[in-house]
């Protein structure tokens, strides 16, 4: 029983990671006033790219770099459409999902045709932190994870610090709340927005790379399985705070992990029903928490000089 519990808890941390990565980028993006609904597919695409480049080069580092590069490029399209041109951000985000999913699956099928089904890669090895990993239950849950996990938590803290304690953070929050005032103060509104949109793609790229290199070792259709959408829900639940996003992601991590582990053990309930766990958590969280949240004032409003 304790074994199962440890398994579920350590899985919760693992499964919170792709959500946390994506949510962090999306927080900056939305704080700057741009909504990127494309995370789900950017994660899938970068999961594919990470695995593909990783298996060609034999280097997980190159795989990850390629994944975040592609993530950033896809987000750049969204930036051009929404910031420079100013089309509806919700529609653009949705088209981004179609586009990135299309590219991922087209490449996947094409590569299978050219060179057969790619072999699964071994997932990244956990790096136990000396001493701390020996603590019962908490040790294996928190301190015997792979590099991505530590990186995600580090990012969350750095993102929070930059957002609340530096001029950069102030500018980002400013262009999302009152772009006119920022423009008058000599801040280049659209440049900051571009950087934040690209960042949201890059972070979803980390999330995708983690899915294929750090967690599954392979790629399949719908690999993100809702995590991109959940990440955006986490952004709202955590009131656009990188620190609170850690907690938000962990809640959904528990949902995904409980489902996966119960399916693994086999408790006689259809796996499809168990997979509903995180989505039902999402519905409940939305119903209870969303009313009290208020986003950045200029969210989804393109900025044009009058």
């Amino acid at each position: 029983m304790t074994d199962t519990l440890t398994l579920i808890l350590s899985g919760s941390v693992t499964m919170a990671i792709p959500i946390l990565f994506s949510a962090l980028g999306e927080i900056y993006d939305q704080r700057a006033g741009v909504l990127n609904l494309g995370l789900e597919a950017i994660m899938s695409l970068s999961a594919f790219v990470a695995l593909w480049v990783g298996s060609i080069t034999g280097s997980y580092l190159w795989g990850t770099l390629a994944a975040i590069l592609v993530g950033g490029l896809v987000a750049l399209i969204h930036g051009f459409a929404c910031i420079t041109i100013g089309i509806n951000q919700i529609i653009s985000g949705l088209l981004l999902v179609t586009l990135a999913d299309g590219i991922a699956n087209f490449s996947y099928v094409s590569i299978i045709r050219l060179s057969g089904v790619p072999r699964a890669l071994p997932t990244l090895k956990p790096i136990p932190i000396p001493g701390l990993s020996q603590i019962p239950v908490l040790g294996p849950v928190l301190f015997r994870q792979n590099i991505f996990v530590y990186l995600a938590f580090l990012f969350a803290i750095v993102f929070g610090f930059v957002l609340y304690k530096t001029t950069w953070g102030l500018k980002i929050r400013g262009v999302g709340e009152n772009p006119q005032a920022c423009d008058a103060a000599g801040i280049n509104v659209n440049r900051i927005r571009y950087l934040c949109v690209i960042l949201s793609g890059v972070m979803a790229g980390f999330g995708g790379a983690f899915l294929s290199l750090g967690y599954l070792g392979l790629y399949g259709y719908g690999i993100a399985s809702g995590r991109g959408w959940i990440a955006i829900i986490v952004v709202i639940l955590s009131c656009w705070s990188p620190y609170r996003a850690i907690l938000g992601s962990l809640i959904f991590g528990v949902g995904y992990s409980t489902a996966a582990n119960l399916i693994g053990i086999g408790i006689g309930v259809s796996g499809y029903l168990l997979q509903m766990f995180p989505y039902i958590i999402a519905l409940i969280a939305i119903s209870l928490m969303f009313k009290r949240t208020k986003g950045p004032s200029a969210l989804t409003v393109p900025y044009r000089r009058k």
């Binding site: 089309i87 949705l94 088209l95 999902v97 094409s110 959408w229 997979q275 989505y279 519905l283």
Partner: protein, 341 residues
């Protein structure tokens, strides 16, 4: 007049960009783009049968895009058409499988009602959250899409699975509940006429009735609506019911019209494509009608593009769709902003 001219220009430029990227990707991957386009056109319009297949698929696409369109007019963003379509299809199947004994004149209307109700039921939670708690509808509707998918897959692998079928699918529904075929030898059923009729009806509602006026007023926001003496909640509920019901009907035409059973993954994302179609058709019922036909050509043509010596994966079609709609919207917005300066 100038605006209309700009619209045509945007479609032309969008098509050129989309086809250029399409050809570039195919060339890079070692495919022949000319052969692929030929296969696409032939597969969607080359024979009477393939043309009929294209029009069979117009029905669910059109209904899903109308579902998004009518709600969008009130700025209610129903992203849940995919889930509502699946639940509508489920209800249509459940109703039809019980009605073998009834004559078509009775069973078909009951099936239609069941699927409409199914779609509406699947929007109930987001609608209540919206009206009672002012919670944005985007995320609840998307989450419910995932849940609907899991519900259907669960039922199709257990409770309603046809025990003799290797795949997750149900038994065939009684023939009395099938929608009549319009052209013998094809699968073209009256669902298409039904969808055309509803398109016309939505057009009338939006353009010629008080309800349409109210819906558009609500689209300006709760305060504007209140200022004009229009009940915001009441109109959001009406629009939500119409929208989700239409998505449910899209599931119905697939079950009792096209497939005659419920099968896992029967929708290649009709619900999501409906959103892109609505945008491509500039949120006008007639524009959406043409955009649906265009999308259907791509989907059906894309399937035959996968076969033969030049087998391009169907996913290329989704890339083409996204690039096309994005380019069209970008060019339209660019021209509009420039004109207003």
């Amino acid at each position: 007049m100038k605006a209309r001219f700009e619209k045509y220009i945007s479609y032309l430029i969008g098509l050129i960009i989309a086809l250029s990227i399409f050809s570039a990707i195919l060339l890079a991957m070692g495919f022949n783009p000319i052969l692929s386009l030929e296969a696409l056109m032939y597969g969607s319009f080359g024979t009477v049968f393939s043309a009929s297949q294209t029009f069979v698929t117009v029905a669910p696409l059109l209904l899903c895009s109308l579902a998004f369109l009518i709600a969008f007019k009130a700025r209610f963003l129903n992203f849940g058409a995919e889930g509502q379509l699946y639940i509508g299809a489920l209800c249509a199947y459940l109703a039809a499988s019980q009605m073998g004994g009834l004559p078509s004149i009775l069973s078909v209307p009951l099936v239609v009602l069941a699927s409409f109700a199914g779609g509406v039921a699947w929007l109930a939670i987001p609608l209540v959250l919206k009206v009672k708690l002012e919670i944005n509808e985007i995320f609840p509707t998307i989450v419910l899409n995932f849940i609907a998918m899991l519900v259907i897959n669960w039922l199709l692998t257990g409770p309603i699975k046809d025990p003799r079928a290797p795949n997750p699918q149900t038994r065939v529904i009684p023939t009395a509940t099938w929608l009549p075929i319009m052209i013998p030898g094809t699968r073209l059923h009256v669902g298409l006429i039904f969808a055309f009729f509803l398109t016309f009806l939505i057009y009338l509602i939006l353009q010629k009735t008080v309800l349409g006026y109210d819906i558009r007023a609500v689209g300006l926001g709760p305060r504007a609506a209140k200022h004009g003496g229009i009940d915001f909640s009441r109109n959001i509920i009406i629009v939500g019911i119409l929208s989700s019901g239409l998505a449910g009907l899209a599931g119905m035409v697939e079950v009792v019209g096209a497939n005659h059973l419920l099968i896992s993954g029967f929708s290649p994302g009709f619900g999501y494509q409906g959103i892109a179609i609505a945008a491509l058709g500039t949120f006008h019922p007639i524009g959406v009608l043409f955009a649906s036909i265009f999308y259907s050509i791509l989907l059906i043509g894309g399937e035959s593009m996968q076969r033969g010596i030049n087998p391009v994966p169907i996913h290329m079609i989704y890339i083409l769709q996204a690039v096309l709609v994005l380019s069209v919207l970008i060019v339209q917005e660019f021209l509009t902003v420039r004109r207003q300066k």
